[in-house]
Symmetry: C2
Subunit: 275 residues, 2 copies
Amino acid sequence: MKKLKRSGRLVDMTNFLLKHPNQLIPLHRFSERYGAARSSISEDLGIVKEIFESEQMGYLTTVAGVSGGVRYEPAVSAREAKTLVESLCRRLEEPDRLLPGGYLYMMDVLGEPGWMNEIGRLFAGIYRGQNIDVVMTMATKGIPLAYAVAAYLDVPICIARRDHRVTEGSVVSINYVSGSNKRVQTMSLARRSIPEGSDVLIVDDFMKGGGTARGMSELLTEVNAHLVGIAVLVEARHSERLIDEYISLVRLDEVNEQEKQIKAGPGNYTNHLQY
Amino acid sequence: MKKLKRSGRLVDMTNFLLKHPNQLIPLHRFSERYGAARSSISEDLGIVKEIFESEQMGYLTTVAGVSGGVRYEPAVSAREAKTLVESLCRRLEEPDRLLPGGYLYMMDVLGEPGWMNEIGRLFAGIYRGQNIDVVMTMATKGIPLAYAVAAYLDVPICIARRDHRVTEGSVVSINYVSGSNKRVQTMSLARRSIPEGSDVLIVDDFMKGGGTARGMSELLTEVNAHLVGIAVLVEARHSERLIDEYISLVRLDEVNEQEKQIKAGPGNYTNHLQY
């Protein structure tokens, strides 16, 4: 890269840090990249940090020492999270989402990169510093959300499935009982999709009884991986929950099919915000 | 936002443009945001443009006039695309990807946000200016790729499925013949996931005979939507292809199960690069 002035460096640095979240970038990488002194780079980073912080985009952490550097850790501030979750609740309360059986149509929200990126950054901030290796989800609808979280954490995603497709190689399967309708179902995971010993975050779009999440955590045990946490976008009220610990953004308090009324409020995430 | 100096504006502007790809941002939005004169904003954008272009991140297009503004259109340069596709080919040639039946295990690549973001930007650049409203894919493995393309195009994704799950509302289904094994299968799409008249880009991870892609395009006809193009990450060689027009990044030239040999080369995307 040709020698850049401060203004050019700031544009390039911002782009570089946003593209490499949660990676420790050694300072010499920047000084070599721009042909600039380390002291200039430190000043540049001070400016970047000020803006990232005033815009509440997360943390710009500097690690001192020989193996040190700078790391951008995406997060969403409590205030911004509140606004985001409130607008999500209002969207989910739209009466035409109601489907037979008290389900909600959510694919429009789940398929919108703008929303998923914000929510992904929020979850990435909540699980910041927990050394997650893999984000796991269940096919199909939760995949965009899981991907968005994984992108901010800078880790791969892996997908458990209710069928067993031929193109995955050796597969581990378990039977599990759905928490809401008590039916026995099967879920499968390609063995090579999670290396042994991985620390795994489960991400899903919807939780009722928690049977799917518990099934996924049992799959993790089968492949000798370790569950770090369970993050769900929307939890429905349910009398007996099969899992204890999870973080939800939205809780459905009421889904009334007769009167076409949905009431949604913030989930338990407010207890887990760091930022 | 408090009044910012040029250095702060550049960091914030870069972040803002990257977060809103393919959206026309009126210049007054920036001048109000920063309490800066329009002439200063224009100078700022000149600096941003220079870096975006020298780093080959895509186009920063300025639209003049009252309803004008600036738009960041992500793309990948021909040189960078070549490097990206070549390293993708080398990865796909790893012999331990071979699965029974001549299939390749690709989920590790498809689940890595780093790769998907680059490939997403490449496809977004290829279909730049084509007014795409929705990206459509088939569950399951292609979803992260489709999401990445959609995020750069700033449009939602919708997912066709081989099953028919209850939580989607009114569904349109078709039967289709798989191009490779001639089996009749069913695919379904939630009617409300694609508004009538939408211009749709189909994105998939793998294409052999093209039956799935043709099925998806038939689904589009059923919901009165319009096919803009078909983008596939990897195409396998096949004697009779059921579709004519598609853009592929990688072509599998040889998959030899006996000798555990895979040969991959660039697909036809090189004819479609604009950048």
